[in-house]
Symmetry: C2
Subunit: 451 residues, 2 copies
Amino acid sequence: MTNALALLKEALGDAVTTDAARLASAQVDESGHRSDAPPLAVVEARSIEDVQATMRIASQTRTPVVTRGAGTGLAGGAIGSAGEIVLSTMAMDQVLEINEADLLAVVQPGILNGRLNEILGERGLWFAPDPASKAISSVGGNIATNAGGLLCAKYGVTRDAVLGLKVVLADGRLLTLGHRSVKGVTGFDLTALMVGSEGLLGVIVEATVRIRRAVEGAVATIASFYPGVRDAAAASAAITAAGLQPAIMELIDQPTLNAIDAYVGSSLSTRGTAHLAVQFDGPAAADEARRALEIITELGGDAELTTDRAEAEALLAARRAAHPSLAAMGTTLIEDVSVPRTRLPDMFDAIAEVERKYGLTIPTLAHAGDGNLHPNFIFEGADVPDEIWEAAGEVFQAALRLGGTLTGEHGIGLLKKRWLGHELGADQLELQREIKRVFDPDGILNPGKVF
Amino acid sequence: MTNALALLKEALGDAVTTDAARLASAQVDESGHRSDAPPLAVVEARSIEDVQATMRIASQTRTPVVTRGAGTGLAGGAIGSAGEIVLSTMAMDQVLEINEADLLAVVQPGILNGRLNEILGERGLWFAPDPASKAISSVGGNIATNAGGLLCAKYGVTRDAVLGLKVVLADGRLLTLGHRSVKGVTGFDLTALMVGSEGLLGVIVEATVRIRRAVEGAVATIASFYPGVRDAAAASAAITAAGLQPAIMELIDQPTLNAIDAYVGSSLSTRGTAHLAVQFDGPAAADEARRALEIITELGGDAELTTDRAEAEALLAARRAAHPSLAAMGTTLIEDVSVPRTRLPDMFDAIAEVERKYGLTIPTLAHAGDGNLHPNFIFEGADVPDEIWEAAGEVFQAALRLGGTLTGEHGIGLLKKRWLGHELGADQLELQREIKRVFDPDGILNPGKVF
């Protein structure tokens, strides 16, 4: 390993750091999980060549490499530990091309999603993947985790927005995958395989992404309160069942409303025990919102509608305040199950059962439009207590029973490894491991993560 | 092989046929290409168990298996030859579930795309992938080739509509991939890897597909004529550049217009040397069409617009008559390159250069909205002459030079194998071969195709 470090410094000079604070910062991500020991070094790659040089040295010395973007992951997928090189692509943060006519952009992996959207926005363009972390998460990280977000039911997940990738393999070779055209079926779809692969198959060093024109016209936003979380879930299901397609549909349960009230001094919880925010965009937005409002009111929701952008922001304020309000209550494990959207009420019931069984309160937010729930487990101290993991495990099993998945958008990383086999089954798990070996025969790419 | 046949008959009885006519029909697809010799047998699987039994016997006896849907492929990907079992999934043609609230359907692979859409249409629902062959092609085949079609720029390709798959592996094991939820990032995305894998990785025996609500309201359709094909391509590019999103945008060149006139007795070619049909749907259809009409007229197009469905069909009649008109001229090799949509004019120039060099006429249709062109090579006799392949090869190389791909939606199959390495490069080609070996270590699934 000393050898690896010496070789890295020789090849990459200043790009290699062993500064204690920098190493420590690479031991954590936004999950709060911290690795046992600092990594060997952090390489701040400035170019594809830097990444290739790093991988060649890692390959030659059999040194593990953890590729890292902005470190906003919630599953421990990009944290470094003893003897590992953390390869940051955050300095590769340029937009290389914006092609308005072909509706594509070529970007380096380190650019922040929010920054890319600022640049695109100046031209009336838009990169649709919108994880809640978009202001602070990198496009490379979004791709490595197939990030979701609030708009997925209408505008798709990250995979749908990636046309092509440049990837450095474990041995330092550079691959170009995909194409610049909308269509293309030459060989297996390795671009799609790479999206969501959590640093296990290669290092994403460039992406050709599909962009859209910004949606024109006013948005129409509804904030609504209900007597119970099942009522809110039923309203969201009824909106979809009526053929309406909101851009955003966010559900907040009672414990989360209480947390928000305590944190920001609001009195949301006096209006109901569940909150549903619904936003429509596009040419039919106002009309769709009026129809949604009727549905909500019929189902007993207490709702207000606005087409004013400033008022809309006020109506969405509860949702935006949810995470900081929960974080103020203690250490938070943000979980991430996904179920078919009609099973949302059942999933809330299952969470309530886990609450009763374990004597816990599990404040839960949901992207109701796509059936993705974030149950939050709150505890004292830095480490997740075993009992919390046990309770979370029961939540995961419930999601699987309902036809869902144990992670909708955060990924497996370190924190969900032990449940992977429950979802995939032994045969698929082995197949996935073999695919990993094809790309990385020496097992140096993010070892110990996912599998 | 006799052993394999005896085992198949013992296990599957009537589902196994060696009828000469049936064997001969499995030697061809819609490309016109015919294999050298009939296959060993055709298995008409009635169930997942039949597929598993077939694969177990094939695995045990090392007998190659060609999975086949409706046989409408255009690249020879599903044709059987000497010693091969052709495994047809066309008898597995049921819709197992339509879930309107979750906007998903579970289907068997043998159902025709058009039939599925009839069934969905009765409930106001819709499966968006729409290859031109949809009336006669199977959903399983659509998935195995990641079929494209006319609506892809707006509504995506087949991959975007597949949530999960059941797949029988080479050794007969059944895998369940993906999920019923909109989101899900557990492990590598093997569902996406399977889409477009042309029968090389497994046998698709069930699919959970995303469905949509039928688009409401009138469609608005424009038919327009231009002095030259570059003008038509420029008009299509200008429509996209103006931020408009047609559902359909189809371009026809002069040789194709001539062929249509000769075949149906029309006089389209007196109105221009290129034709562009544009159709808008959704709530803003009429407004978008008016804006497109202005653009077309400014660019010198001779255009008419209708919002009447019957008149729209009349305007699209030219496009629909194109393939039979060309087929009437001789044997047709329908090619399938794709380029970024702004490179369409350059691609037409490249085709014109190949025409001059080889003394050929290459009638060309294009899905202009997504940059997918179908140059047609017409010749006498059953076999594609070497000179035609040479000319086609130059067309493929031109597409690659323009940032495109040698197949937008038909696949590699048998007919484009020799160009695969040009697009993928040696490193990626080897990686793809290794992935194939992970799924199919004995190489019994569709051997000799793609690679």
